[in-house]
């Protein structure tokens, strides 16, 4: 579904060259929920933004559905992006538009038949459970509702891939859980391939089937999610697991009743 080959990206600073991504090779299967985990600054955001070229890679290849994204000109890229949904940590909804208009926007952009827009928007709002909020503005919604609108907007034009840039990092645990359930549901019902980046182990554990660990711009570990928890190989993976254990131990010690 998505193939990334020898992807490189460096940021040139006045006094230094920062290799944000080095020789990234990844394979994401059709219908996967693929998690990329790493600490802050590891390059995970750069990586996911390279997939739809919000960030221009320096070299390498990204192939989605057999189409070479990296070789496209601007117009081709715009057409390709219409089939790649994206959701953001800060939601990035259009405050001037109602929920309905936000979700309808990708349809208008892609020239969806005008008389079908209404029914498509209603259909997708029902899927994310926001039918009653169609006329509300984003500023009137809670964080979880905003992210649901973000998901609805990303999915309205029936993309084959959904990119999630830390979509749950700004939400509380309960809302995170409900958004993750929604993503899982969408993956099940629509068969959309989901690539998500996160720094929360719970997210990985809860919905991903495959994962990769990124450390200093390099993929240091990959495979099924179970392996990550049972047999962490890389430094980052071990640190994540250790931190989790450490917190659990501390909590048991302090409160005496475990998690």
């Amino acid at each position: 579904m998505i193939t990334i080959r020898d992807l490189n990206k460096a940021y040139i600073m006045p006094h230094a060259r920062i290799n944000a991504l080095e020789n990234i090779n990844l394979q994401v299967g059709q219908g996967d929920i693929f998690g990329i985990i790493g600490f802050s600054g590891a390059g995970k955001s750069t990586l996911i933004r390279c997939i739809n070229r919000l960030e221009e890679p320096d070299s390498g290849q990204i192939i989605i559905d057999g189409n070479d994204i990296t070789a496209m000109d601007k117009q081709q890229l715009r057409l390709a992006r219409r089939k790649i949904g994206m959701i953001f940590q800060q939601f990035n909804l259009f405050d001037a538009k109602t929920v309905f208009q936000n979700v309808a926007f990708p349809l208008e952009v892609s020239g969806y038949p005008k008389n079908s827009i209404n029914s498509r928007v209603e259909e997708i709002l029902e899927l994310v459970g926001l039918t009653d909020k169609a006329r509300a503005y984003p500023l009137q919604l809670s964080g979880g509702q905003k992210q649901r609108v973000g998901i609805a907007r990303a999915l309205s034009n029936k993309p084959s891939v959904l990119l999630s840039d830390e979509a749950t990092s700004a939400l509380d645990p309960q809302t995170t859980y409900s958004i993750l359930e929604l993503l899982k549901d969408i993956n099940n019902k629509l068969g959309v391939t989901i690539v998500l980046i996160t720094h929360e182990l719970d997210v990985l554990k809860h919905i991903c089937n495959n994962m990769a660990v990124i450390e200093n711009g390099r993929i240091v570990e990959g495979g099924p999610v179970e392996k990550f928890f049972l047999n962490p190989e890389s430094d980052t993976a071990r640190r994540f697991i250790d931190i989790l254990k450490w917190f659990q131990d501390k909590k048991i010690y302090r409160e005496g009743d475990g998690i």
């Binding site: 057409l79 992006r81 219409r82 953001f88 990035n92 952009v109 509300a136």
Partner: protein, 222 residues
């Protein structure tokens, strides 16, 4: 009170309104595209073009450095070329619009830059082209602040018309100079100032009302 006061003031106010409204419209027509170009040709934006951005920025800075009276005098030949005269309200509209357009462009640039870049990126990720991003995302998102910005510009333009009045443009400014100052007509001086104060208050009030209405609509809880 002199009997000619009402006549003088109504003619002066008419000329001032005529100059201010037309100059604002033309300055907006020039300044809005300039402001948009300044934003979208900026680094990392939808139509990144550093050279165009630099050249445009420099031209705007140069035009803005001129003291307004001098800019008006410098642009008088242009008025003669376009309008056929250098005297009167219509002739003043040429330098007034050209003088205010760079100011307006900077205000509009500021307003558009307030829109968080994440929204622009979201529109880019959706596959919208630059024209759609500007017309459907940037401008609507910045609308309340654009209205407040244009209000500032309109008030500046009203002040600017009074300046133009000193060099033969007519309007309330010229009234204050020719009658209030040169003929010691304190009633004229006083009345023009009062009218200008009311005018500016009304413009500000109107702008606040409109921007507030849009904001309220977006924040309102049902």
């Amino acid at each position: 009170m002199n009997s000619d006061l009402i006549d003088l003031l109504s003619v002066g106010l008419g000329e001032t309104l005529y100059m201010a409204i037309l100059s604002t419209v033309i300055a907006l027509a020039l300044g809005l595209p300039l402001g948009i170009i300044l934003v979208i040709t900026g680094k990392g934006h939808v139509l990144e073009a550093p050279r165009i951005n630099n050249v445009l920025g420099t031209i705007i800075n140069i035009l803005r450095s001129f003291p307004s009276v001098i800019l008006i005098v410098l642009l008088l030949p242009l008025s003669r070329f376009i309008v056929g005269t250098t005297l009167g309200a219509t002739a003043a509209i040429v330098p007034l619009s050209i003088g205010s357009a760079p100011f307006l462009a900077r205000i509009i640039e500021n307003c558009l830059k307030e829109v968080s870049f994440g929204k622009v990126e979201a529109a880019m990720a959706i596959g919208a082209n630059p024209a759609t991003i500007v017309s459907k995302v940037l401008i609507p998102e910045a609308l309340p602040s654009l209205i407040r910005g244009v209000t500032i510009a309109v008030i500046a333009i009203i002040g600017f018309t009074a300046m133009a009045g000193m060099i033969g443009a007519g309007g309330l400014g010229s009234l204050a100079i020719r009658f209030g100052y040169m003929r010691f007509r304190n009633d004229v001086m006083f009345a023009t100032v009062v009218i200008l104060v009311i005018l500016v208050q009304m413009v500000q009030w109107g702008g606040d009302l409109l921007a507030g209405y849009i904001n309220k609509k977006r924040y309102k809880f049902e």
